[in-house]
């Protein structure tokens, strides 16, 4: 572990944004290296040793990916990332079966790439139901059951939410889907390698995986597509016919190898890592609660990956807090949309009030997070929240016992 913990130099901020992206595990980089340099062949080249060597490597990695999720290697397709996997799974199924069924069910807290794909399908004439979630961020199974009709072709529910880290009841959802003969897709970008996943036990028909969320490289992902009972897809990218025709394009051998190795490491170390992260998560929360009042964890704390905390610091503005804690790399909202200042749609879906949503930070812990980093982060957060609250008239009023909701603000 010594080599690994050396990743951060002292002058670098503490990285606590593991849901945006993870640093690559040095062990992953190491196995990728030869495929960047002397083992550079195109896995599609069948006429010489460079090609065979590359093909062997991508196939080995495919097996490593399959093993992580209890799949057969023939059921794993390489893509450029989870966004592409989600686009391909949802659009691919919708378009293939459109003559028989045209209804898709998803939830309001899905990643943007799922929601945007569904919105586009609506414009194409498909019917989409966006299920609400409960206040803890979890899907109510009765609500799901009630939404399924004989026109429903696909249910797409993410395994772990990217903002609040809650784990959806995959096995139960899978069972309901199988009973109703509806395909079940899960966006497991934030779940693979973090929680045990088994496509058989959970009746999952399609699963999206991302490389860079599990200490592998960016630019690679995978889509699991069940063979028995067979799921069929209309491809999005045509060409050389790679990946059984589901996804054409030269396979990037080093990236495939890196994803495979990342999955292999996760398979072996997930259990121990989860325990370690759970301790860090608890340490952080205890540390904050010891010194700060009026902080709320958004999303269920039990049904949650240990590497995530999403906390609202009441009476503090999230952006000001972000500006203050320059030594901590955290995010307010998910990374793809964090450049915008809109409150998170995920938190809104949980019924979090706008003021509280604006004060939220997503804190992601991961493989290279240390106790010392957690303690430093707690100190920084406490210091800046306290300082900002001291300047806040709202905080002052709240301390004086004034109900802020009763105030009628003058419009400007």
């Amino acid at each position: 572990m010594t080599a690994i913990t050396q990743i951060r130099r002292n002058d670098q901020p503490i990285y606590l944004d593991y849901q945006a992206t993870t640093p690559m595990d040095p062990r992953v980089l190491e196995v990728m290296m030869p495929y960047f340099t002397h083992k550079f062949g195109n896995p599609g080249s069948r006429s010489h040793a460079y090609g065979w060597e590359a093909e062997e490597a991508v196939e080995k990695a495919r097996g490593q990916i399959a093993k992580l999720i209890g799949a057969d290697e023939k059921e794993v397709i390489y893509t450029s990332g989870a966004t592409e996997s989600n686009n391909l799974a949802i659009r691919g199924v919708a378009e293939f079966y459109k003559d028989r069924k045209n209804h898709i069910i998803t939830t309001v807290t899905e990643h943007k790439c799922v929601l945007d794909t569904c919105r586009h399908l609506e414009q194409q004439g498909f019917e989409v139901t966006y299920l609400p979630v409960q206040q803890n961020g979890l899907l109510d199974l009765d609500v799901l059951r009630a939404a399924i009709t004989d026109k429903t072709v696909l249910v797409s529910v993410m395994a772990v939410n990217n903002e609040i880290g809650v784990i959806q009841p995959l096995a139960e959802i899978g069972k309901i889907c199988r009973e109703h003969k509806v395909f079940f897709h899960t966006d497991a970008a934030q779940a693979a390698g973090k929680i045990p996943l088994d496509v058989e036990a959970m009746n999952i028909d399609l699963m999206s995986i991302s490389g860079h969320k599990i200490y592998g490289p960016k630019g690679i992902g995978a889509l699991y597509v069940r063979r028995k009972p067979r799921v069929r897809l209309v491809a999005m990218i045509y060409g050389g016919g790679q990946e059984r025709g589901f996804r054409s394009g030269t396979l990037p051998t080093p990236l495939c190898v890196g994803l495979g190795e990342a999955c292999e490491i996760a398979t072996k170390e997930m259990g121990a890592e989860a325990k370690r992260l759970a301790k860090l998560q608890e340490r952080m929360l205890k540390g904050l609660r010891a010194k700060l009042t009026d902080i709320v964890v958004n999303g269920d704390l039990e049904q949650r990956i240990p590497g995530n905390l999403n906390i609202s610091f009441a009476y503090v503005e999230g952006e000001s807090l972000m500006m203050g804690i320059k030594n901590l790399s955290v995010s307010s909202g998910s990374a793809c949309t964090s450049a915008s200042l809109e409150p998170s749609y995920v938190l809104r879906a949980l019924g979090v009030e706008e003021e509280m949503a604006h004060t939220s930070l997503r804190i992601g812990l991961g493989r290279f997070t240390t106790e010392h980093e957690v303690d430093t982060a707690v100190d920084e957060l406490v210091r800046h929240v306290t300082k900002l609250r001291a300047m806040s008239p709202l905080w002052e009023m709240a301390q004086e016992g004034i109900d802020l909701k009763s105030i009628e603000w003058a419009a400007h």
């Binding site: 944004d17 945006a20 550079f40 080249s45 054409s248 790399s329 964090s338």
Partner: protein, 372 residues
Amino acid sequence: MSVSAYLDHNATSPLRPEAFESMVEALRAGGNPSSVHAAGRKARGFVEAARRQVAGLVGALPGEVVFTSGGTEANSLALSGAGRRRVLISAVEHDSVSRTVPDAEIIPVDGNGVVDLAVLEQVLTTTREPALVSVMSANNETGVLQPIGEVVRLARAAGALVHCDAVQAAGKVPVDIHGLGVDYLSLSAHKLGGPAGVGALIVRSGAPFETDRRGGGQESNRRAGTENVAGIAGFGVAARGASQSADFGSLRDRLEIALVQIVPKARIFGSAARRVGNTTCVSMPGVSAETQVMALDLAGVCVSAGAACSSGKVQRSAVLAAMGVAPNEATTAIRISLGWNTVPADIDRLIAAWRDLYIRVTQSDIPRAAAA
């Protein structure tokens, strides 16, 4: 394996050392370019530097560069993104174009593989429905260059948009998107010494474009998905290297002269046309491409029997068929493609291996059968 002569750069080109270095730097830095904190801004810096470098390779503005997962995705994005139902393509396009638009109207090529401009003009003017014309710059099998300027002139006159697959041309011949007047241009990193898994679609500022990749709004809403930061960084550096690299033409010409001296009946396809300087498609009459490729591989020379995609199956080359090459001759054609690290000794080794093979087969029954 490091001792073999790798002459299959049109399948994939080894990574340039300077591109590799920049990738390792980016891989070590980590970060998601969409994150606003320091790690994110650092990653964003790599992406934007590469955007300027890639733009520079083809005379584009940085804002016109949309990074993709490769040339295949770039072609796919262009063909759907232009939003034209009517599509015209040449008969020698890469599968990633022809299979994406199976209903496209096909413009034939002549015996040298050059698109027939008269037919193009005629087809363009048969109906008034606005079209998209997709014609590649350099062909992946023969290296033949298409007259893109002329294609654009005809297309414009008919109100059509133009897409150009420049995957095999960029970095080997000068490509200037605005000089050519092309609306969409596809690039691949690993064909010019960058990494596999990254490419770009250049969308001319002002050209219509609607993406079919939805999500987090990356690449100015033109291609969603977390950017392959290290891959993009490597692409940028490779693009800069490719724009400064030497021409392979003289080496290739020497090779072709030697091959024809050894096998007088050998035919070099597209040789009368303008070609990119790194590609030779040549036949050894009477000897199947598979036999040649295997014999050359045993001699430590890597070439291919055609495009290196998925097939594995021996398929007849659609490119040679479109050029009117007879099936029995097309199955004797191999592709030799040079690249940034090719040295004269590689060529000598290929020439020697080709000579050895020819001597072996002329002493066996194959030439007699051919003569009969």
